[in-house]
Subunit: 181 residues, 2 copies
Amino acid sequence: MPTRSQTQTAVLGALSIHPMTGYAVRENIRDVLGHFWSESFGQIYPTLAELEREGLVERQEPEHPRSAPFSATAAGLEKLRELLREPPQSAKPRNGLLLRLFFGRQLGANECRELIEAARSQAEVQLAELGAERRSLVEQPDLDKDAPFILLTIIAGEHGARATIAWADDALAILDEMLPA
Amino acid sequence: MPTRSQTQTAVLGALSIHPMTGYAVRENIRDVLGHFWSESFGQIYPTLAELEREGLVERQEPEHPRSAPFSATAAGLEKLRELLREPPQSAKPRNGLLLRLFFGRQLGANECRELIEAARSQAEVQLAELGAERRSLVEQPDLDKDAPFILLTIIAGEHGARATIAWADDALAILDEMLPA
DNA sequence: CGCTACATGTAAGGTGTTACATGATTCC
DNA sequence: GGAATCATGTAACACCTTACATGTAGCG
């Protein structure tokens, strides 16, 4: 119920794809889930320790090698399915760009234009990155069972980025029309 | 610099439009900024007290009436402009829906379809609400100076909602194609 | 042999939510 | 007079980030 379990979801989910170290969990969350999820270092290790205590994950060679990967146990996979079935809770919205634009009168139309153009550029970069990710996804042979689901998240990002670009163009036109420089 | 100042930004911004009580600040943030911002009760009152200590806001009739509205001082407006000029920082992404879909193999295609359809419905409701808001915006005479900027945030929400609807349709098609029931 | 990347963890501090507590005013 | 709404605040707790601390392994 608390948001903490969403960290558990992300960590268990990562280990459900294949076993890996805590360090790799962090890199995967950053690089693969990065466009819609984030976890910090200080969350991942305590969560792994907690999951190990509860028997939901285990390490290959108990103790010795410092780099023994964690893997999800059967109970862990069951727990993951249970967590995934809970209603999705998204973070409270906090869009710093829109907050600035809402009070844009104080900021001035020109500074607003700059903010919008910066957001547009960023969205174009993201669109290119996600396109590359999508193309490389179809070449991965080992993920075929997960691929359709991963694809859903990539195209969500692409739709979002294209919406940002279209919005930016509309927004700049509105400023030009209503507040000519 | 800390995120705390973004709460200051929202509160000062609300008071920059017109004076109001803390209670009204909260209602306005929820109802007007709601689709891209949120602040909780426990943030707003301490922030108002802090702003008052710093001379950035003041109450009309000092002390007596419990319902004396706060208003931004000249220093408060200056501070607001300063805060607005700081680079926008958005919350770390945490999309519970996409997290579930990414690990959708564990959840099953049918439960994923339900999640996507629910998101689509929600986006349609939001699109309708924002459309109504946009139409009522042009009828407000007292906001004409702020109206162009408010319009930018409304159409941002509309673009986002339309993107969610288009994505949902694509996503359902992908599931039907790659994982026929 | 030194630098970078891998690997694990802790502690402090900041942010934000929730629940609780209190009272005035207004409307029925 | 009672219920809903307006109004203000606090305290406990959950959450998350950052910086620090430590050590190993591999590579040039």
